[in-house]
């Protein structure tokens, strides 16, 4: 049974999460007994070098992948034993994503990309909400542009508008500035934090940018698969 969100409980809770993969050289441990909690409205950064397992952890916490051992709870519901579809149902309308490579659908306009989560949540007239979200990210003039017609920064803004359009409880951001130049990256981060504050969503940010991490409530470092608090 998938329960709804309980304000007393953390939005995301991971305990002793280990992820191993079978590679040509045998078993490869990517994450080892990682534990963390993300409370409602909280902003946490996970720092780490390339290949340290940051994105793997993010995927596990969002229920996109399965742990080898340990437990993860999303909105108080353990992900263990849930099918792929049950995990998807748990995310629907309550989880937002921002990716390094934007992940916009090239065949859809900016407006349609933002409408997608609203449509999946069954909202009857999603265009108005999507247009509002795009207006909030400063793209009201670009509603009908395709991703290929937008700059990198604009594409990431569309992705942010899409992430917040369904008023999620938690937002997972994977290197949101990784594909952008420094100036554009800064503006995107400002926008991300601004939108988060307006919606009150919790934010779990994966980055290797320490200045960005410094703006978060909590910082965790992942190194050789181990997750440690960063003082």
């Amino acid at each position: 049974m998938i329960t709804d969100h309980n304000p007393e409980q953390p939005v995301v809770k991971a305990q002793n999460v280990t992820k191993q993969l079978q590679g040509p050289g045998g078993t490869l441990t990517i994450l080892e007994t990682a534990s963390l909690q993300l409370a409602e409205g909280e902003v946490t950064a996970i720092l780490g070098a390339s290949g340290s397992g940051k994105s793997t952890l993010l995927g596990l916490l969002a229920g996109l992948d399965e742990v080898t051992s340990g437990t993860i709870e999303l909105f108080g519901q353990s992900l263990s034993g849930l099918t792929e579809d049950q995990r998807a149902a748990l995310r629907a309308g309550k989880v937002g994503f921002v990716f390094q490579s934007f992940q916009l659908l090239p065949g859809m306009t900016a407006l349609e990309n933002v409408m997608l989560p609203l449509e999946l949540a069954g909202i009857r007239k999603p265009a108005a909400d999507a247009a509002h979200a795009l207006k909030q990210v400063g793209l009201s003039e670009r509603l009908h542009h395709y991703p290929g017609q937008l700059s990198g920064g604009e594409q990431q803004r569309v992705a942010i508008a899409r992430a917040f359009a369904s008023q999620p409880k938690v937002l997972f951001a994977d290197e949101p500035t990784g594909s952008l130049d420094q100036a554009t990256g800064s503006r995107i981060i400002d926008l991300l934090f601004e939108m988060r504050e307006q919606t009150g969503a919790a934010l779990l940010l994966v980055t290797h940018d320490e200045r960005l991490a410094a703006r978060c409530d909590h910082r965790l470092l992942i190194e050789k698969g181990r997750l440690e608090p960063l003082s």
């Binding site: 994105s55 995927g59 996109l64 792929e84 579809d85 065949g107 997608l116 290929g148």
Partner: protein, 829 residues
């Protein structure tokens, strides 16, 4: 409901974004090709049937030795059908004390309802087509009559008590071919002249005919009404019980067109299969994002399925409309040949078009679409993750199932569909095997030669599945085009050659045994080639094994008719040239005394006769029993005397028989017939030149129709080529960005593409050429019963042409990538 709304929204975006353009276009062309062929063949077949009806001069003919009951005429009038009357009887024509036995045909003024009459004003004049028969007081006679009585147009002749002006030579009455047992040359007069001749009295032996023609549905309705009301002596003739030569020509014409349409289906399938891949690849990303955002597998699958169904519907409707327009144009071109507007098509091609659209789409897109629901959401973080591969067997099974279904429906002939399907499967297997070998043998080769050579070959080795897909797609397309070329060039000419220019155009029956030797001498003296003089006995089939045979045991109308009447049996030591053993054996010299029968294979199938069965015939009260030792395929359109059942000489030669022969009489030598009649008065001459002309025209028009159908398949082939090239577009785009960034010049990029696609084309072409010739050979020998001659042009065009065409297409497709700056290509995604 929400899934439907979501699907509709996605579908609208699909259409606008152009992502489905190639798939839609492929489907439109596929459906257009099939429905154009469908509409066209449907109309042409109807026109051919109508034209064949000219042999009857109507769609239906009721005949009797007594006046036709008026109820039949009244029913025809009620149904709004056209009717005409004829009376035929033998009589004597007199000219200046000379007499000649003739077959008088008195016709109403609207005769013929189908076909036409052609006349000459004098012996060497051009043939003229006339609208109606001679007016009162006029008579038209065949050239044979003119020769017999040494008449010239303008002569006065007497018929009974009336005098007539013989003003035209009758060169063609299309219904002549039907009148098999004619005693003399035909003369045509107006029906209203009959009373003044005084020749027809209630006691006269006259054949009355009521000719009926009109709308196909009404004709069918009349046939249904009339059949149970046929009393003793009343016969209803229609095309399906007309002469086997015509049936055969029509059947073959239809089969050729069916085969041409079948090939269009094959190209369509290959095109859709190729263009589906790109669509599915793009949809993987959409599915991953949707799953991240909370969509279930079933939602993704359902939405995709609805989109595909909408796509199928839209593309099919557009394809049907395009097909309709295309066939309309073609029908306009051909209607002249058929002497007027072609009949409108039935609904069947429309349903075929819709069916083709959906079956092709579902058969080729459903297996990859099923995978899309299972795309892992983690793909948004790791692009290398893809859905678990679908069972190759499921993929193959569904695609082949779809193909087989389409072929069977399209060909309307399981043997033909079977051979083409087998040819396709062997080709696909060979192509897949070659693709595998190619990818594996390329690895060592890639380390030799120049950089461009390596780049070109690595293009093939980079993605084994893509290479396999392209090779298979190209190979199937080329197979289809070559197969159709072979049909066009070789099978059609083989078909037309089945009636040689000097094919027999006259039959002689009722030849007495005592006349045989003199007749041979006569032919030698007159320098007329004849097909051999064969014995003929008439006997009724009474038993198959110990089971008595009667018409009510058979549901099939033809079988009932065959059993009800007497068979023409013959005996022979050697089998005739136009016959071929398809099962069992022909008797040796040692076996000629044994009681054995050789049976024509179609009649054996119709009557349920098996090899080894014992057949019993009743020959004027004498039972004749023998086992079936062989089945023969007979080329009825060879116009040689042919027999359903032939026995060993030992079985039949002691029984009394007549003889039959056929010969070719060149135009202008009709006087030889007069000498023949004078020397052998008991022999009956049957002129089949009119029916032979009909068969020749059906062949010519059928061939022309196939030529046009080829154009559609060619268009589908061009799109298939485009789809094949586009399938690897994304790979090539990414490579072009990297290579051009690293400094590769335009010429280099194009050369590498040319090497890659030329190699693909050469391989696909070689295998497809091999398989097309093998399939062509099987179809020629097994389905149509022709000899297959390998055409060296197909080898050259198939192998080298494919390499060059696909190589050029590769260069053209890579051209935009070679002129666009790499950064702009990166930005445009």
């Amino acid at each position: 409901m929400s899934q439907l709304i979501l699907a509709l929204r996605f579908f609208r975006r699909d259409l606008r974004s152009g992502e489905l353009r190639l798939l839609v276009l492929a489907l439109i062309i596929a459906v257009a090709a099939v429905s154009a062929v469908g509409f066209f063949t449907n109309r042409v077949e109807q026109a051919m049937t109508l034209q064949a009806n000219q042999v009857l001069a109507a769609d239906l003919v009721l005949s009797s030795n007594n006046p036709i009951p008026s109820a039949f005429e009244e029913q025809a009038n009620t149904l709004g059908l056209d009717i005409a009357h004829t009376l035929s009887f033998p009589s004597v024509i007199v000219h200046q004390d000379q007499t000649q036995l003739v077959e008088i045909k008195a016709v109403s003024q609207n005769y013929p309802l189908r076909g036409d009459l052609r006349v000459r004003s004098f012996a060497d004049a051009n043939e003229l087509t006339v609208k109606g028969p001679p007016g009162p007081g006029h008579i038209w006679g065949e050239a044979r009559l003119m020769a017999a009585l040494d008449l010239k147009p303008g002569a006065q002749v007497s018929l009974g008590e009336a005098d007539f002006l013989l003003d035209k030579i009758l060169s063609r009455d299309s219904a002549l071919g039907n009148n098999f047992f004619r005693l003399g040359p035909e003369v045509l007069i107006a029906l209203e002249d009959i009373p003044k001749t005084g020749l027809v009295t209630p006691a006269s032996r006259v054949r009355h005919r009521l000719l009926i023609a009109g709308n196909q549905e009404q004709v069918k309705s009349f046939q249904g009404w009339a059949t149970p009301r046929l009393t003793q002596g009343l016969r209803l003739e229609h095309l399906s019980n007309a002469r086997p030569e015509l049936r055969n020509a029509l059947d073959r014409g239809s089969r050729f067109l069916g085969l041409a349409a079948l090939v269009a289906v094959l190209v369509a399938g290959a095109t859709v299969a190729l263009s589906t891949r790109q669509f599915v690849e793009r949809q993987s990303d959409t599915s991953a994002i949707m799953r991240c955002l909370g969509a279930s597998q079933s939602l993704i699958f359902n939405v995709l399925l609805i989109r595909l169904l909408l796509l199928g519907l839209l593309a099919s409707l557009l394809g049907i409309a395009t097909g309709w327009l295309a066939q309309y144009f073609l029908a306009g071109l051909l209607s002249d040949w058929f002497g007027g507007e072609l009949p409108p098509p039935s609904l069947w091609p429309l349903l075929m078009g819709l069916g083709t659209g959906f079956i092709t789409l579902i058969g080729f897109t459903l297996p990859p679409a099923l995978r899309l629901g299972a795309v892992p959401p983690l793909r948004v973080l790791r692009r290398d993750l893809d859905a678990p591969p679908i069972s190759t067997w499921l993929l193959i099974l569904l695609s082949i199932g779809a193909m087989a279904l389409l072929m069977l429906v399209q060909a309307g002939d399981s043997t033909l569909a079977g051979w083409v399907l087998l040819g396709t499967l062997i080709t696909v297997s060979l192509l897949l095997l070659t693709a595998w070998l190619l990818v594996h043998t390329l690895s060592p080769l890639r380390h030799h030669g120049g950089a461009l050579w390596r780049q070109g070959l690595s293009g093939l080795a980079r993605s084994p599945s893509m290479t396999a897909l392209q090779l298979t797609g190209f190979g199937l397309g080329i197979l289809a085009l070559l197969l159709l070329s072979i049909i066009r060039m070789d099978l059609l000419s083989a078909w037309q050659k089945t009636i040689p220019d000097r094919a027999p155009n006259h039959f002689l029956i009722n030849i007495q045994p005592t006349d045989v030797s003199n007749l041979r001498t006569f032919f030698i003296e007159q320098q007329i080639e004849q097909a051999g003089i064969y014995p003929m006995l008439r006997a009724r089939l009474t038993h198959i094994n110990d089971r008595p045979v009667s018409p009510d045991q058979y549901l099939d109308e033809r079988a009932q008719r065959l059993v009800a009447r007497e068979f023409n049996l013959s005996w022979a030591d050697e089998m005739q040239d136009a016959n071929k053993i398809v099962a069992g054996f022909w008797w040796s010299d040692q076996q000629r005394a044994q009681p054995l029968f050789s049976v024509e294979v179609d009649i054996a199938n119709t009557l349920g006769i098996e090899l080894g069965d014992q057949l019993a015939f009743d020959l004027a009260g004498v039972p004749i029993l023998a086992r079936v030792s062989s089945f023969r395929r007979v080329h009825w359109d060879s116009f040689q005397p042919n027999f359903f059942v032939i026995g060993t000489p030992g079985l039949l030669e002691q029984h009394p028989a007549n003889f039959i022969t056929s010969f070719y009489l060149p135009p202008g030598q009709e006087s030889a017939l007069a000498s023949l009649v004078r020397q052998f008065p008991s022999i009956t001459i049957i002129d089949v030149s009119a029916i032979m002309q009909q068969v020749r025209e059906i062949m010519q028009r059928g061939s022309l129709a196939v030529e046009y159908v080829f154009l559609f398949t060619l268009a589908a082939g061009v799109l298939m080529l485009y789809a094949g090239i586009q399938a690897s577009r994304e790979h090539r785009r990414q490579e072009a960005i990297v290579l051009r960034t690293l400094g590769l010049q335009r010429k280099g990029l194009l050369t590498a593409a040319a090497i890659e696609f030329f190699t693909l084309g050469l391989l696909a072409g070689s295998l497809a050429t091999l398989c097309a010739n093998l399939t062509g050979w099987f179809i020629a020998t097994e389905v149509f019963g022709f000899q297959f001659n390998l055409n060296p042009w197909t080898l050259l065009v198939g192998i080298l042409g494919s390499g060059i065409a696909i190589g050029l297409a590769g260069i053209l497709a890579t051209w935009p990538l070679s002129i666009k700056p790499p950064l702009r290509m990166l930005q445009s995604g």
